[in-house]
Symmetry: C2
Subunit: 338 residues, 2 copies
């Protein structure tokens, strides 16, 4: 038993799973639970979150009633101050008053809601690779692309909580179609699904051209096609493997995505002058090639004065960043309110 | 006499002039002075600043000794916390320990140094068009292009004080040469000197082509040339006038500059989610055309969720923003230290 300890619950709510963890004031995980969502209906999800939280408490051997606060990170856009999830595409949610649904099921614990990426960034700030860094930017490139922005030692979520949507800045006006409805967004090039889709599009063209020329295999993209069997099965990870074996199509697209990402990051560094930048997420950490090109662009294009004080590194907490950050954000808000 | 009032000095140090003003806690100017710098040598400039400050006190009928603090905005990059001007191209300075030079001449008054644009942004936040707005971005487009960033109610100068250098983000990789040494910076298109230079370059080409064809005047850019007499005399203001009279060259360049500026602003809004954006500076406020195109790009390309809470407006304080902001930043730092 740890009766006098500060204990918090951190929740990471994705489109498929909910993770819950009991965290102490130092960011250590004392007990955790991960389970699959059986329904995406908001009330059912709220119940699943409470259940996961209580199971995590059980795993830590600690009563739910001892938890001082709960932070909830949601894969989506969260409206600041209202507890409303504006949009969570993976859950199919629009304008869901999730904090209200949670309060009906866990009335005594203080709750905070934020974007999952902001939570992960805060986890790295408090207990990971950004410990003690007051001006920190965490950029994660997975199927989505986003940034958590910490300035002056606090998470900056913007006026309505939707800051950090780096995936939806324009990097190629009029360019590739993004899921958000716009064209030319960074995510439409560097996000995992889009990157693979881009390769599929180019591969189909190459394949058609090869067949017209009476060949079975295209020259460009041939290695990638061999690796995956058919264009539909292309993934960002397969592209990195194919690139490693010299596949020209994969090399070109990974480097172009890295270049667009790198220019966006250079501009972010010039604008915000952080002292540390953490670069991670499944796609980027899985592609040393994209990472290398992106960092070279930062080196070449960030203002000299901002580059001079910048350290570039990688996150440390992996997929625990979300729950750790959510719990420690609850701690930070409680401390502020006290 | 106002013996019990909070009084502060604000200094705005450009490459040609120094402005000084006595400001009360409400941001009102009680007395001011502007004079030309006779030397750009740092010790002489420090003396000129002290002289201007004392003259402003005299104009307000208040003793210099009653001033609680002095804020100094410098047209250049300032290193946070050290009082060193890293680079001020208009003054020809590099690594000048300006606060130290000032302290030797005004030892009893607390001093704060920052970039002049940051000061102007803070002035608008405290006493101008951004009064009471906690998430505010002020973008000024004059001969230079820069942003003052206020998040969570405080000026965010970044880890080393060089945040907000919006003029040096990359908007056209490999594009026009910028004075900073890079190519394709926003300032290389939208900054006043560069914009005029761009028109001069295109005008010379049009002129040479016209002469080859046996004509005296070029078709494209002809109105602009009539207006200024020779390419060397083109200014951003002349371009706006020529555009108003239908000059195709001026229209194209002002709109292209507005488009590049607008995409940069849309990306800034998507990334930082401010509740207000103030757009001003000599070039932008002098070109309704550039302003219109830039705002249309923000409307089209900022994320819907960030655009939904954003107000776009113009600064109110004009060329007094710098001195007002500098004085009120001194006030803010003193209040924080107390």
């Amino acid at each position: 038993m740890r009766p006098k300890e500060e204990l918090y619950l951190g929740i990471d709510l994705g489109g498929t799973n909910v993770r819950a963890a009991v965290i102490d004031g130092g960011g250590h995980v004392l007990g955790q639970e991960k389970h699959r969502l059986l329904s995406r209906e908001p009330p059912q999800v709220a119940e699943a979150v409470v259940r996961a939280a209580k199971t995590a408490c059980g795993a830590a051997g600690l009563p739910f009633a001892e938890m001082r606060g709960m932070g909830i990170g949601v894969a989506g856009m969260v409206q600041k101050g209202t507890g409303v999830v504006l949009a969570a595409p993976n859950l199919g949610w629009k304008e869901v008053p999730f904090v209200k649904l949670m309060q009906a099921r866990a009335p005594r614990i203080p709750l905070w809601l934020a974007n999952d990426l902001s939570m992960a960034a805060w986890g790295e700030r408090e207990a990971g690779a950004g410990r003690g860094v007051d001006d920190l930017i965490v950029v994660l490139v997975g199927s989505g692309v986003g940034a958590g922005i910490i300035m002056g030692g606090k998470l900056r979520e913007g006026a309505s909580g939707v800051a950090g949507e780096l995936g939806h800045i324009q990097v190629q006006p009029g360019g590739r179609q993004c899921t958000c409805g716009q064209r030319g967004c960074l995510e439409a090039y560097a996000g995992g699904h889009h990157l693979a889709g881009w390769a599929r599009d180019d591969l189909r063209i190459a394949l058609a051209a090869a067949r017209t020329a009476g060949k079975h295999h295209p020259e460009v993209g041939g290695k990638l096609l061999e690796l995956v069997g058919e264009p539909e099965k292309v993934t960002a990870a397969a592209m990195e493997r194919a690139a490693h074996e010299g596949d020209a199509l994969s090399i070109r697209l990974l480097e172009e995505a890295g270049r667009l990402l790198g220019i966006a990051l250079a501009n972010l560094v010039t604008t915000l002058n952080p002292s540390r930048l953490l670069l991670g997420g499944g796609v980027l950490s899985g592609s040393p090639r994209m990472m290398r090109v992106a960092i070279a662009e930062i080196d070449a294009h960030a203002s000299k004065q901002s580059r001079a004080v910048l350290q570039i590194s990688t996150p440390e907490l992996g997929d625990q960043a979300g729950v750790v950050g959510a719990a420690l954000l609850a701690r930070a808000f409680l401390a502020e309110a006290a």
